[in-house]
Structures are given as C-alpha cells and as structure tokens.
Symmetry: C2
Subunit: 135 residues, 2 copies
C-alpha cells in the first residue's frame, strides 16, 4: 500500500501540474485545496524539492512549482522517493536490492514470481507521468 504521505505527494503534484507555468503556489493554498495537514505537506514538498522534482521561491509571491514539465516526471520516481521500493521483495528490487539469505535466487519460486509482479507493475508506473494523472 502507498502511505498517506505518498497519496498527499501525488495530490500536491497533481495540483502543481494543473498550475504549471502559472508561477509559485503557496503551501497553504495546496494544503487548503487538497485538504492536507499543512506542516506535513511542508516536509513532503521539501523532500520533492531536494529530489529536483520541485523548486521553490521564498518571500512574498513565493511558493512551490514544478521544476520540470509534468510529462517529464515519472510516477515510478515519485513512488520510490516517498514510498520506497516498488517490488514486493528486497531480492527482487532494482533500486533497493538486498541479497536474500536462505533463498538462493536461482531456485526460488517466490523470487521468480515476484519478478513477474515487479515487471508487470513497472510496465505501468515507469510509463506514466504526472501528466497522465490529470483527467
């Protein structure tokens, strides 16, 4: 399951995608429109900024805005950043790989199956962007 934090991140990013090229948007505006606890949202946006997805401006007329065009930001990137691994097992994860003790990956049915699940999921989330989330 995606954490609430991830869901908030997607809501905020969707909102910022709609407002793309309209200048900085206040944290408070996003929080109000998307009903997200403001201080929690603040930390999420900061994380997205550090990952180069968002940029911000301080002071009057400031706020947050997308650093890249919505169609350049992959859903998979956001999930990995805020939620963590997409795969169901560490020994099957591409970005968070950890070797599996007591399961030689060559002969493990669960392993093989989870690779299939991973690839099926990646086939979707690697090929969608923020733009695809707008309806």
């Amino acid at each position: 399951m995606l954490s609430k934090k991830s869901q908030y991140a997607f809501k905020a990013l969707t909102y910022l995608s709609e407002k793309f090229n309209e200048g900085p948007v206040l944290i408070s505006e996003i929080a109000a429109k998307k009903k997200i606890p403001i201080k929690f949202l603040e930390s999420i946006l900061l994380e997205l900024k550090k990952a180069d997805i968002l940029d911000s401006k301080k002071g009057k007329g400031g706020g947050y805005f997308l650093k890249q065009r919505p169609e350049k930001v992959k859903v998979a990137t956001v999930i990995r950043l805020i939620n963590g691994p997409i795969a169901m097992l560490p020994c099957v994860s591409l970005y968070f790989y950890e070797r599996c003790k007591n399961c030689n990956e060559k002969h493990c049915g669960l392993h093989d199956m989870m690779i299939e699940v991973r690839d099926a999921t990646l086939g979707i989330v690697e090929n969608r962007t923020l733009k695809d989330l707008l309806v």
Copy 2:
C-alpha cells in the same frame, strides 16, 4: 513490500508443501530448516490454521500440515491474510476497500492507474498456488 512475517509464512508453507501427505511436521523442524525464529513462526502457523490453510495435531507425533492440497492454496490468499491488501490504494482494493475522500473515484488519474496495477498483480498472484512455488 512483503513483511518478514509474510516471507516466513511462504517459506513454511513451501516446506509443508514438500512434505504434503507425510504427516504432521514439528514447528521446531520447520524453524530449524527454514531458519525462522521459533516463537514467531508459532504465531504465524496458528494464524494460517485459523484461516483453514493448515491443520495441526497436538501431542507426540503431532505438528502442522496442509489442510488442502498445495495446488488449492492461492498465493493471493496468503498475501491478503498475512500481509494485507494487495492493491496500492484502499479505494482500489477488492478485499480491503475504503472510500477515498477528496478523490471522486470517477475522475482520479491515480485511482485509474492503480486499478491497472492491481489487476496486473492479481493476474499473477491469483493464478499461482503453493505448488507453483516449488521448483
């Protein structure tokens, strides 16, 4: 990600699948062979028994054993029982559904996408059983 508990559950079930029709297997034997903390394993097996996947016998010559044939136990069932929802969002889950506030499910890009992910995943785990985990 699957919890360690889930991974232990699959290891134990795989072992019991191999020993299907050979009579009860001791918790301690499973724990030793699969390197699972014995008391933790105990609670997992009990949970699987309460879900009618395993059965047990007390006293000498006792132990745990599969209640149904390995090919009758779906991987999806075990994941839902031990790990929880398979879907990435509550508003998209079949067995753990919860309505999504602030996201009318008719017009939510994230929602639609996560339905695709869910179906892709279910397409795999609903059609595999313990038997498929044996190599």
